[in-house]
């Protein structure tokens, strides 16, 4: 019902990269996601907004099966990536996560060197044929993550020794180093200054040419700036999903309107 391709002003042909239908998520007895259906398009930035605790992160983690690691978490409904059910028994979540990368809400660099942080993904996926290849991937990823200039002289120092904002960008660089098809970003700019934020937003825009990006954000301005589609979550429900311009100028639901104008949340 939220799928309205005709409303889009853009001419380019968009396909649905991820389709979720009737997704329910339970943490033990807590019903965290209630019947959410959403279609995430390719070559699009989709923003998830909503008050704290409404289930944005939970839903995001369903998209690459990170919730599998939480014992009490139970998921119903179906989620398809390129038409294939990702919760099918035959799907190996490891393969899925190589395609659907993730930047976590809290920065979590490995307690290894900055270089190894970036190189780990390409190494285990065999993306680099030589040391020079790997060096190149590391440099490119760090540049795209808008952190190269700050760390180029200390690549072999621990990633955990960076500031919070630097760690966040390091994690972004780590996620894009494996060249995923879909990138899930959970509040990637929460600890960044305006300059770094602008750089990350630029990166997101650039990634759109090849990938789908889903970004969770608490900043309405950011959602308006970077995304083409916006989904508003409230208490586990997907209240409204539409083109970003529509959501911000002409929301259909009054809860959406109250939230973006700052009256609830």
């Amino acid at each position: 019902m939220y799928d309205a391709p005709n409303l889009g002003a853009k001419v380019e042909q968009k396909t649905n990269k991820i389709e979720a239908n009737g997704v329910q998520v339970y943490y033990g007895d807590t019903h965290a996601i209630k019947d959410v259906s959403v279609a995430i398009e390719s070559n699009t930035v989709t923003a998830f907004i909503g008050p704290s605790g409404c289930g944005k992160s939970t839903f995001l983690r369903c998209l690459n099966r990170m919730n599998d690691t939480i014992d009490i978490c139970r998921i119903e409904g179906d989620i398809r990536l390129d038409g294939e059910d990702i919760y099918d028994k035959r799907v190996d979540p490891v393969q899925l996560r190589a395609k659907v990368g993730m930047v976590f809400q809290k920065p979590n660099p490995f307690p290894k060197s900055i270089y190894d942080n970036i190189a780990y993904g390409p190494r285990i996926h065999g993306l680099a044929k030589s040391k020079a290849d790997l060096d190149e991937i590391v440099e490119k990823s760090l540049r795209r993550g808008a952190i190269w200039n700050e760390v180029k002289d200390r690549l072999h120092e621990p990633g955990t020794g960076l500031s919070g904002g630097q760690q966040q960008r390091l994690c972004i660089a780590r996620a894009i180093a494996t060249e995923p098809e879909v990138l899930l970003m959970d509040e990637p700019c929460s600890a960044l200054d305006p300059i770094a934020t602008a750089q990350v937003e630029e990166l997101i825009d650039e990634l759109r040419a090849q990938y789908s990006v889903v970004i969770v954000t608490h900043s309405m301005q950011q959602a308006a700036r970077v995304s083409q589609k916006t989904a508003f979550f409230h208490l586990g429900h997907l209240v409204e999903y539409d083109n970003t311009s529509t959501i911000f100028t002409n929301p259909r639901d009054e809860r959406t309107e109250s939230y973006i104008t700052g009256r609830i949340g």
Partner: protein
């Protein structure tokens, strides 16, 4: 709530001066200083107990590392050793230890003549009793190795007998010698003369660390060699078995096993096993490894297996605790870039847990090293004179163990064994210190790699 009443009272706290303490602050500060005093006194008492313990062990035991030696020129008389004069090695080897005692007596006789040493009533033969019964055996061993030396005069350093050694360490006095059937005051006087003449010296005693145990009536010859080797073999068995099994089991339980009632039961049982008295493991080992599997008694392999059973819970508990302490976000990060569960564990979680695992392992090993009770049950308390062979056969040879040797020596009547037992405790403590030092060094090394 008390805050509310006091701030709502007649004198509001905000108005009082910062330079004077109000009643509440005084009370809190008093409570804090009382608590500090309790803590400090507990630490002081513990330190005193430790100092007293170490002090008494060092006081009693350090003398075990020094031993009294008597140096004599011994003429390997062909008339005694090679009566037929054939020079045949086989014939010479037939002479028993008993046949060597006259050689020592003859040396004393010569000494008395040449240097004017001597005490009335002490014949050369009686003077021979100053030397350990091990002395004649040493002499015989020397000749056995090279029978061509018969006929030469060799300078030989003999162990002094336990009582003479005790005299120079203050354990035996002239008065006690009066009542002692093993030594007479005259012999002690002779010993003093020998010392003045430079034939008798107290010096460092490697034999304490290298020799095998000796029988009841020759404490001076008793050493820890077999016990150290036995303990070492057992530690190898324990390390080789318990570290991989323990770490693998913990990783499986912590990272891979489904959380259900079966794993809950296993978890509870592992914790309980850590609290089972060690002697119970001894009975288990006796039943399984010796009676059922038919492994030899008193062998380091059996001791090692029993100690492995004892050490496993310690290692598993320590390993699981350190795996649990690794933040889950690290696992998420690894899974997030597409690592498999196993890669996440082995590349990221295990290196971070390694310092804790190592510490747990070495604490487990140290416990095992000091364990006595289960070894008594599997027969390691036996009197072993033979050194076990090199591994792997040596694992199946009878051997002793350090703590059992301590236990053994404290059972013996001769007071010289008290010194020996304390010395063995010192050796045990030194080994424990070394193991702890290794743990600290390894920890540092791993922690520097973040």
């Amino acid at each position: 709530m008390t805050d509310a009443t006091s701030s709502g009272g007649a004198t509001p706290r905000h108005s009082s001066s910062l330079l004077t303490q109000d009643a509440r602050t005084l009370k809190r500060n008093a409570a804090e200083s009382r608590f500090r005093a309790y803590g400090l006194s507990a630490v002081v008492i513990a330190m005193l107990a430790l100092v007293f313990l170490l002090g008494s062990i060092l006081h009693n035991g350090s003398s075990a590392f020094r031993q009294t030696f008597i140096t004599l020129d011994v003429y390997l008389d062909p008339a005694k050793l090679d009566k037929k004069g054939t020079g045949n090695a086989e014939e010479i080897r037939k002479v028993t230890t008993f046949g060597y005692a006259p050689l020592i007596a003859a040396s004393f006789e010569k000494l008395f003549e040449e240097e004017g040493i001597g005490v009335e009533g002490i014949s050369a033969k009686k003077a021979g009793d100053l030397i350990s019964k091990e002395g004649a055996a040493d002499l015989r061993r020397f000749v056995h190795e090279d029978t061509t030396r018969v006929g030469e005069t060799v300078s030989f350093s003999f162990l002094a007998s336990g009582r003479i050694d005790g005299f120079f360490k203050g354990r035996v006095t002239m008065e006690s010698a009066e009542r002692d059937s093993n030594v007479s005051p005259a012999q002690l006087m002779l010993a003093e003369q020998l010392k003045e003449a430079g034939h008798l010296k107290t010096s460092w005693n490697w034999g304490f660390l290298t020799m095998a145990d000796a029988s009841e009536n020759r404490p001076e010859a008793a050493g820890l060699g077999v016990a150290i080797l036995g303990s070492f073999y057992m530690m190898i068995v324990v390390l080789v078995l318990s570290l991989p099994i323990g770490v693998a089991a913990s990783i499986y339980l912590e990272e891979f096993a489904p959380k259900n009632w079966i794993t809950d039961i296993i978890e509870v049982n592992i914790s309980n096993l850590a609290a089972v008295p060690s002697i119970v493991f001894g009975i288990l080992g006796l039943a399984i490894f010796i009676n059922f599997a038919g492994l030899p008694q008193s062998a380091p392999i059996v001791g090692g297996l029993v100690l492995t059973l004892m050490t496993l819970p310690t290692i598993i508990i320590a390993t699981r605790a350190s795996l649990k302490a690794v933040p889950p976000s690290i696992r998420d990060a690894a899974l997030g870039v597409g690592a498999s569960k196993m890669q996440a564990v082995f590349h990221h979680v295990l290196p971070l847990a390694a310092p804790g695992i190592l510490t747990g392992t070495i604490i487990g090993l140290a416990q095992a090293l000091g364990e006595t009770a289960p070894l008594l049950l599997i027969g390691m308390v036996a009197f072993v004179r033979e050194f076990p062979a090199a591994p792997p056969e040596g694992f199946f040879d009878p051997a002793s163990a350090l703590p059992v040797q301590v236990y053994n020596w404290t059972q013996r009547a001769d007071p010289a064994f008290v010194e020996r037992a304390s010395g063995a405790i010192i050796v045990l403590l030194v080994f424990l210190l070394i193991m702890n030092a290794i743990a600290i060094v390894l920890r540092r090394r791993f922690e520097r790699r973040w």
